[in-house]
Symmetry: C2
Subunit: 343 residues, 2 copies
Amino acid sequence: MKALVFHGAKDIRYEDVETPSPKNGEVLVKVEAVSICGSDLAGYKGGNTMRVAPLIMGHEFAGVVAGLGEGVTTAKLGDKVGVYTNLFCGYCPACKAGLTNVCENRRIIGTTMPGGAYDGAMAEYLVAPVGKLLPLSGKRSFSEYALAEPLSTGLRAVRLAGDVKGKTVAVIGCGPIGLLTIMVLKHAGAKIIAAMDVVDKRLTMAMQCGATHTINSKDDVPAFTRQLTDGAGMDIVFDCVGAQATINLGADIVRLGGKVIWVGLAQPKIEFEFKHAAVKELTFQSVYLYITEMEEGLDLIESGDIDVKQIITSEYPMSEGPRIFAELASGNSDEIKVILKNE
Amino acid sequence: MKALVFHGAKDIRYEDVETPSPKNGEVLVKVEAVSICGSDLAGYKGGNTMRVAPLIMGHEFAGVVAGLGEGVTTAKLGDKVGVYTNLFCGYCPACKAGLTNVCENRRIIGTTMPGGAYDGAMAEYLVAPVGKLLPLSGKRSFSEYALAEPLSTGLRAVRLAGDVKGKTVAVIGCGPIGLLTIMVLKHAGAKIIAAMDVVDKRLTMAMQCGATHTINSKDDVPAFTRQLTDGAGMDIVFDCVGAQATINLGADIVRLGGKVIWVGLAQPKIEFEFKHAAVKELTFQSVYLYITEMEEGLDLIESGDIDVKQIITSEYPMSEGPRIFAELASGNSDEIKVILKNE
């Protein structure tokens, strides 16, 4: 089969590889749509411990069952499916506590984890355990279904924030995760959704996705949020970037006793204005992967309650992957979400 | 009257000042015992924005009503009283949200705040609004009652941690706040209370206060906590220091999906291992002052459920204040809690 194989920093090749064979309890999935995640791009740039070459990336995808391993009775050829990409172990302390998202031995489809590498969906086919399949009705496009995985991050972020109904919230960073978080916040009934980004085009898209106000992050964000909230500050801030500047901005613009949800992870080590955080009696909550949120995301896509296709800016043939990755990595791209499809 | 007046960095003088007069709605309180807080010591060393000279410090105290201002009907001469030291405004957004502890206009007895300076209890007398008095039975010593204020910090830290019953917890830093937090955790039913400090004497005291295990922070703390918890890490970590090393240690030794409670504030700006925090899906909660916890602390002292006198290492006449401050500031002191009393 053809696949986009990651061979090392800035080296992804569209080439022939052996088609995988589903083993006992596994199915072969023909990939219909796979989306490029920011983490795939970070992997492409090199130095990301979760993308070690050689690897076929791709964990945001949907497809059709095209082969059955031994003992598989709950799936049949032609089934349209999403795949729950977190292959948790089920027996570590985190799994036993119900926190399968941070399973110590987890493998994640399309990544390299301490638990092992697992080839992903930037290929014609991949294999997946039958128990991880999520049935799709087919009334939405495969490209939309592929976005259930990043949508699950927005859903988990909002869940961990507690009740957002009637609250004033800020979303820092309007890339795919920020925009999906805005959609979830709108659906959950947040009163004010203030979106922030350095790119004006993304702010326009944020308004389309449900933001009530926007400001370019280069402007005076603290003054803007004070004005929006009669001087109090935002009830909840979603940091969908996770860099030094945004983390300290979040603690600044959140109200006394408020919450900051750390969704993004752009910088591993930062200089943190700890005093600011300490004297305001704040809650900081980091968000990692999903538990039940991927199924919930698919339900919201199926029902039409959340329209993820708004953030899809391009669809390309898989064969153009090497060019697309290079363009996205250049930093000169206006793309939000790019979908790759097999010819 | 005599008072310990803070005149600037390392300059506290025991001298004559005018005895304050209670105004409308205020009472004069004769100070029976006042405890030196770490924040007083930080103020003494200089550069602390909450202690601007000239100021009479002292916010951990108890005394007797010795004078009544006009219109006071709910207190009488001779009443034994604690004082709720947070003079919140009641009308800012934080107060209206019930978060009087972070009131934007608050004054705190014995400190200099943006809302104003207020002379404290390191004197023969101070004035206090009658509505802030907390009645004392007299069956405990004034020195014990004086510790209701720092005890309230431990109570609020444990409250913000949620249910601790049956949990594995760590307390980093066994100064007064750490030790009081340990007492509260024992009373609340924590299963494992692992205490950490660089000073072995403090670890001995931690065991007396209710810790189940101790380790010197210079040793391999992560290995120790893994061993205590079958490899999982601590459910909740209370950082009663708030320095770069302890903040990063907390995120390291807490279990996946666990909570870190930031109680102390030793360093205003730190280099933070953000990635560590982000991928473990952690909650960080800072703690500031108290709301109802000071009354609850007095109740626990009155009932004997918490024995705060364990941490009182010395009692001195107020006149020796200048010498005591200098000794504590030298860093060569074994004291935990020092109480000053008027002759």
